[in-house]
């Protein structure tokens, strides 16, 4: 055990994946090394809800798996409540739990209650507390009435709520939530977010690390966020701190048609424009493909200059919206990713 004043601490955390394949059945082996995490440093305070954001393949799940002892780092180290996740893995397992979205981690032929009882036994939850803890958790997530039905009869949302119960069955001090709302419909995802914020963090004071690629989710829930891009942690801080690090506090969202690459490059040279990014957008206007531009501008007075530029290049502006930067804008600004 090392001394650490943080609930979670990662230093120079790195993880490579080595993949070997053959060109054909008896061909020569080809080895590829993928750097999933590259010297990542961050820490999470006690009782904090920290978000790790990034697109698929950014290294979010790798980070979580290392922190909950399911994977070893290739370099660097991580501490959970002062325990090293490799050398004190047994101690770490007693005080953490993990909920993953879109994964099974439940026995479908057992009832919800039987699943929780099984995991309570594996976590050595005091015998006297097992039943009351299971009932409390089922009540909290609204599954009491279906507790004695087999999980295979549950809807996707109910299974995910049961997963949350499984994640809390050992009353963990640190909870890892790896895309917990993945694939859930809007209302259920909202309920789960509310449950995590209000019950797990605010009421029970647990430390939570949430990974997500839904920016609005992180914006709604997290005290601080870290942006992961291609295995590197490019920025960490609260949304307010990160906004202050942007050169301007305004973002312009422009939906436009007929935008050529040359026009886009020239747009970035305008005096009012600090940075411009084209993001994925699926839509058409009068049969023409629409591009979505996020433009970081000096002030909210930049609109006329941008509009004049668009008109001079015969681009048709479908809509223009000036607002303070969202977490998505911050992410794009810091990572340069769409």
């Amino acid at each position: 055990m090392r001394g650490s004043s943080f609930a979670v601490e990662a230093r120079q955390l790195s993880r490579d994946y080595v993949s070997t394949r053959r060109s054909h059945l008896v061909g020569k082996k080809i080895t590829t090394v993928i750097k999933a995490l590259d010297r990542v440093d961050f820490e999470i305070q006690e009782g904090e809800l920290f978000g790790l954001l990034g697109p698929n393949g950014a290294g979010k799940t790798t980070t979580v798996k290392i922190l909950c002892t399911l994977l070893e780092p290739t370099d660097g180290y991580a501490l959970v409540k002062g325990y090293d996740v490799v050398n004190n893995a047994g101690e770490v397992r007693k005080i953490v739990n993990m909920v993953a979205g879109g994964e099974r981690m439940l026995y479908f032929r057992l009832t919800g209650r039987e699943n929780l009882k099984y995991f309570a036994e594996l976590y050595d939850v005091p015998k006297k507390e097992v039943n009351s803890r299971i009932n409390t958790l089922l009540e909290l997530v609204g599954l009491s009435e279906r507790a004695d039905d087999e999980v295979e009869k549950y809807s996707k949302g109910m299974r995910q709520r049961l997963q949350v119960c499984r994640g809390l069955i050992n009353d963990p001090q640190v909870l890892f939530l790896d895309e917990p709302t993945l694939g859930l419909d809007v209302n259920i995802a909202k309920d789960i977010r509310k449950f995590i914020c209000e019950k797990i963090v605010r009421e029970q004071g647990k430390t939570v690390l949430l990974t997500t690629h839904y920016m609005y989710e992180a914006e709604e829930m997290c005290d601080r966020v870290g942006f992961l891009s291609k295995g590197k942690l490019v920025a960490v801080g609260s949304a307010e701190e990160l906004k202050r690090r942007m050169p301007s506090g305004f973002s312009m969202e422009v939906l436009v048609t007929r935008l050529s690459q040359e026009a886009f490059e020239d747009l970035q040279r305008l005096k009012a424009v600090k940075k411009a990014i084209i993001t994925d957008y699926e839509g058409e206007a009068e049969g023409e493909k629409v591009d979505r531009l996020i433009i970081n501008v000096e002030s909210d007075q930049a609109a006329p200059e941008v509009l004049n530029f668009m008109a001079s290049r015969e681009c048709r502006v479908v809509s223009l919206n000036i607002r303070g930067p969202t977490l998505e804008d911050l992410f794009m600004y810091f990572t340069g990713e769409k």
């Binding site: 080595v18 397992r93 026995y107 039987e114 099984y118 594996l122 976590y123 050595d124």
Partner: protein
Amino acid sequence: MFLRAVLAEVEKEVKIFFFSARTLFWTLTLPLGNGLYLYFFYLPFAARSVNLEFNSATFSLDLVGFTLIGQLLYSFFTMMLLAGNTFVREREEGNLEAVLLTPANRMAVLLGGALAGAFNYVWLLLGVAISWVVFLNAGIIVADPLALVLSIVLSYLSLVALGMCFEAFFFHSRRGIMYATALQEPIMFLSGLIFPLQSMPSALLPLSYLLPLTFGLISVRLTMLGGASMWDVAVPLSVLAAMVVVFSALATWLIGYAEKSAKRKATLTQF
């Protein structure tokens, strides 16, 4: 905590196995059909005997009993190989990470899986044994019931321990079932399952004596069909007891090594 995890695993596996009343019905009734099949299969061999040489003595054993004990213990061994796939099954069902996230002793989980496997299939063995006794009247001569019970228990425990070693071996393999299948025929041959060991080429005998099934077959056959006493089977029983200890220790080390290796190579969820 160890015992709690074992019992939790047994309870879970049994509940999953006996998921419906239909499963329970067929699990209880099919073995009786299997017993009837064996009856007609072995009827032509009734009242014949086979000589088993052991410890400078020759025991004349009922041929049907000799073969059926071989079949029963072999079924048990196959079951242990399958039980050895507990973690592989968990991985295929998407639950391995949830189990490994817990601080539960891995050996407890494995042992629970193996014991549940024994419980789930014990009806098959009982069904066959009952059919055998009732229909075939196959020359049972038990002089020392305690020696017989000890032979069965130690055979079972040594096979469980060996099954757990295989489990560790299968842990990070995508080919667990293939290896298990590949092992079946050589073990069937080497253990003296279908013929007495004295018929085995002497060069292969050292391999036979590495298998707990070999000693299990000797001690159960002698105590059940040959009227052997505890003293007569002291050697195979001692070897079986030693194998329980050695294989359990080996399995504990192997499973720890396999888990660490899988986490290092990131193969925990690959299959």
